[in-house]
């Protein structure tokens, strides 16, 4: 089992502990509050994810072969969803992140409650994370 699948599985089990949607939402919101802040210089249009109704900024980073993203949003539920994504991908090898579809969010019983615009925003975030990861993996393989 890859590290990403294992982490996703843990998250799914974590979310199964909640009986109703309100508690699941609350957990998402709380996860967002724990997200590490991004550097102010990344809060610019260059790092903004388009396709979100709220504003989302993604700060790419790398530690060795592993990705290390930071992100922020002006909306709490959005920020929580990013926190969930980053919990799965951060400290994982860039080539794995680039090569995984990250569809585990479907199983958190959250996505059905997301509006189409929010789902688009989430897909845009995943796409951007995988694009960065792909570039990082390519750079690592060139330098090694």
């Amino acid at each position: 089992m890859s590290v990403l699948t294992e982490r996703a599985q843990n998250l799914i089990e974590e979310f199964e502990l909640f009986d109703d949607w309100m508690d699941r939402y609350q957990h998402v919101i709380d996860l967002g509050k724990e997200l590490a802040p991004i550097d102010e210089s990344f809060r610019s249009s260059d790092y903004r994810i388009h396709g979100c109704q709220s504003q989302v900024w993604l700060q790419p980073g790398q530690e060795g072969a592993n990705v290390q993203f930071r992100a922020d949003s002006d909306a709490q539920i959005t920020k929580g969803l990013i926190a969930i994504l980053l919990r799965v991908v951060n400290d994982a090898p860039a080539h794995e992140v680039a090569g995984t579809d990250l569809a585990f969010l479907d199983q958190l019983e959250l996505k059905e409650h997301l509006s189409p615009t929010r789902k688009n925003g989430l897909d845009a975030m995943i796409k951007q994370i995988r694009l960065y990861a792909g570039a990082m993996a390519a750079r690592s393989s060139q330098s090694s």
Partner: protein, 261 residues
């Protein structure tokens, strides 16, 4: 614009000059609900020979509009905002303007005669109606308009103003709730923010509770910028809404505020 969401009407004539080709504005603000003083604007603009276009998409579901009495040059509206089918609407224009305007699209029925030496276009309105029209859509829209007429405008207005007044009172009682747009003359639209929460977060919680609101900048970013806010949550009422529904909205907002605190 004033803080309560009214157009600063004293400033308006100063903005017009010899280069003004057209004054285009909303009859009723989709973001704030403000009913604009269109008679005065039309009079001022006409005084300087400037034609006026009113976007009545948010006005026609709530009140009768008499374009001739308003003396407006162009008036447009959407069928789906007044309970008709989607993808169809109305653009009214004074004959003198429509005669002067060239067709914007070519196709069947908009041409009177074609030869190698020249083309004569059909008469208005046909010269603007290229190709096969949206027949079903137009018939559906007429049925919706008839339906509104059957209900009666005075009843619709009474019903909606009652809901707006009730909602304004109920929502004002929620801690931290701020109504955006408090003009004395408003259609049944209530835009607001809850404390420091993002409109989208509030909308997501309400959505989950089965309450449909619109969130975001409502395609009026300059207005949001003026208020210094990312957007609003907007509840729109029609004659079919009820006071118990507004109670549920207030209750939902209290829950959302609690979750997002």
């Amino acid at each position: 614009m004033t803080e309560d969401g009214e157009l600063d009407i004293e400033e308006f004539p100063i903005l017009l000059n010899a280069r003004t080709r057209l004054v285009a504005l909303v009859h009723v603000s989709n973001s704030l609900g403000t009913i604009n003083p269109v008679r005065r604007i039309i009079t001022d603009a006409h005084g300087l020979g400037v034609p006026v276009l009113l976007d009545g998409a948010q006005a026609t579901p709530h009140a009768p509009v008499n374009v001739q009495e308003l003396d407006v040059d162009f008036y447009c509206l959407s069928s789906h905002k007044m309970f008709g089918p989607t993808g169809v609407g109305v653009l009214y224009g004074k004959a003198e303007h429509l005669e002067a305007m060239p067709p914007w699209q070519g196709g069947g029925d908009m041409i009177e005669e074609v030869s190698f030496t020249g083309t004569t276009f059909n008469e208005i309105p046909h010269k603007f109606e290229a190709g096969t029209p949206n027949i079903a859509g137009v018939i559906g829209m007429a049925a919706a308009a008839d339906y509104l007429e059957t209900l009666g405008w005075s009843w619709i207005k009474k019903q909606e103003q009652d809901l707006l007044g009730y909602a304004t009172t109920q929502l004002s009682g929620i801690e931290g709730l701020r109504i955006i747009g408090t003009a004395p003359k408003k259609a049944a639209v209530l835009s607001f923010l809850v404390g420091a929460t993002h409109p989208y977060d509030v909308g997501s919680v309400l959505d989950r509770l089965g309450i449909a609101v619109r969130t975001g900048h409502h395609c009026t970013q300059p207005l949001m910028k003026q208020y210094g806010i990312p957007g609003t949550v907007r509840a729109s009422f029609a004659f079919y809404n009820t006071r118990p529904e507004i109670d549920r909205l207030a209750e939902g907002l209290r829950r959302a505020a609690q979750m997002l605190a």
